[in-house]
Symmetry: C2
Subunit: 283 residues, 2 copies
Amino acid sequence: MKIFNKITIIGVGLIGGSIGLAVKKRHLADVVCGVGRRVSSLKMAKAKGAVDIATLDLETSIKGADLVIIATPISLIPQYALKIVTLSHMMRKGLIITDVGSTKAFIVSKLEAILPKWIHFVGGHPFAGSEKNGVVNSSADLFVGAKTFLTPTRKTDKSALANLRRFWMAIGSEVVIISPKKHDKLVAALSHGPHITAAALVNSIDKKDIKFASMGFLDTTRIAAGDPLMWRDICLSNPDNIVKAIKKLEKKLTALSKAIRDKDTKVLMQHLEAAKEDREKIK
Amino acid sequence: MKIFNKITIIGVGLIGGSIGLAVKKRHLADVVCGVGRRVSSLKMAKAKGAVDIATLDLETSIKGADLVIIATPISLIPQYALKIVTLSHMMRKGLIITDVGSTKAFIVSKLEAILPKWIHFVGGHPFAGSEKNGVVNSSADLFVGAKTFLTPTRKTDKSALANLRRFWMAIGSEVVIISPKKHDKLVAALSHGPHITAAALVNSIDKKDIKFASMGFLDTTRIAAGDPLMWRDICLSNPDNIVKAIKKLEKKLTALSKAIRDKDTKVLMQHLEAAKEDREKIK
């Protein structure tokens, strides 16, 4: 079920590699071209069948593409957009560009400023991933059942949005259309704040004690093993929302701590029961 | 490899049921007798093969036992110890009593005060479990690879400790001998604090947003679905250590939040890298 002729994936890590595998498995494009900075990742992407063509050269990779997915770390996305502009003469009119960055307001405003109007940019964020990075961990079904956020603005081309929506649905995602601002607030609460919390939790344990950790601790802190550079980028591009999410958590923590200290069984049970009830709503 | 003739398990929930299954699978006793308050749990324990005999009558269950394991919620443990004392005439001399409560200082001091000297009490805590409760979720291998804490004091009979250690090792546990006080501090950091954190995290999310949760949030908050009554008991019997553990976490959270707000890349990276490094030390 072909949707695009040529898809170019810039950055073949966990997400870029998984998109490539997902596209190939479902025959959504004639050609998938992977471009990146590391020969080893490109070689592995080719070996895994995530891309048909692997190249270090952006110009070659973009030629003739009708969908370009920037799947690099957040901090590199604007740079790639700038490079793409210099290659405008190589590109098809109506080319769709999207990204997979975990924050959207910063990226969308940057890219809308950088890219010419005839390139159709739509911000995106597949809400999937793992504490394990790299194309080595990529999977054709990483997005199955996961939500993918698309974050249009008033400037977004409607037909490009519809095509991209169809694309993400074809690789198994449930697509959620949301504004960049609302997206960033939502994922600060559900992902960025929890990541910072998991890191703080690990850091709060005496080093000599960590070897006694049991399953509960392992689950609760699993995401703290994520790539620090990726999380640094996320924090720096969504700081206000993350700080607010942490503040909300701190309030709940303080209330629970007070109830425990005061042996206030009623308040303690209210918090524990509310948490159980809400947690059980999701699987 | 028989270690005891008759083992009595008071309370056949997840832990009690799993001990029964583990004993039967490994032939560690001639008879396992389960006693409890709910006929449905006792019936299921019998049906699952976790116990040979299921009864509502403590007196019958204890007669002739050489190991009694109190696997009830923490708040009921002292009551059962008091009942056991009134049945002293039914018991073998040298009977070993242990428990599986998640906190130890409170329970050990209570039970050492209640039980006569000729009953050998040793506090215990298998550091295993799940957010899923009840004998229905019990498993013969729940303790395989898990740590079990035994918390002797100066009053503890050495031979009883050695036998109990052998028992827990036989069902797959790694046994850690530790004082009740040190135990409570350790598990406050590694289990009780993280549980409270997971609950606070769930409670900090706007109700309408929780349906967007992805895998990271699910992992981080899984334990928040645990039994509120069990966690209430834990909190009320280990409050000081839990409050201290939360305070340590709050300090780390505040530092991270400050680094994010100030866009202090260096400090942010220090925290994220330290968390990744320590988290990767455990599997």
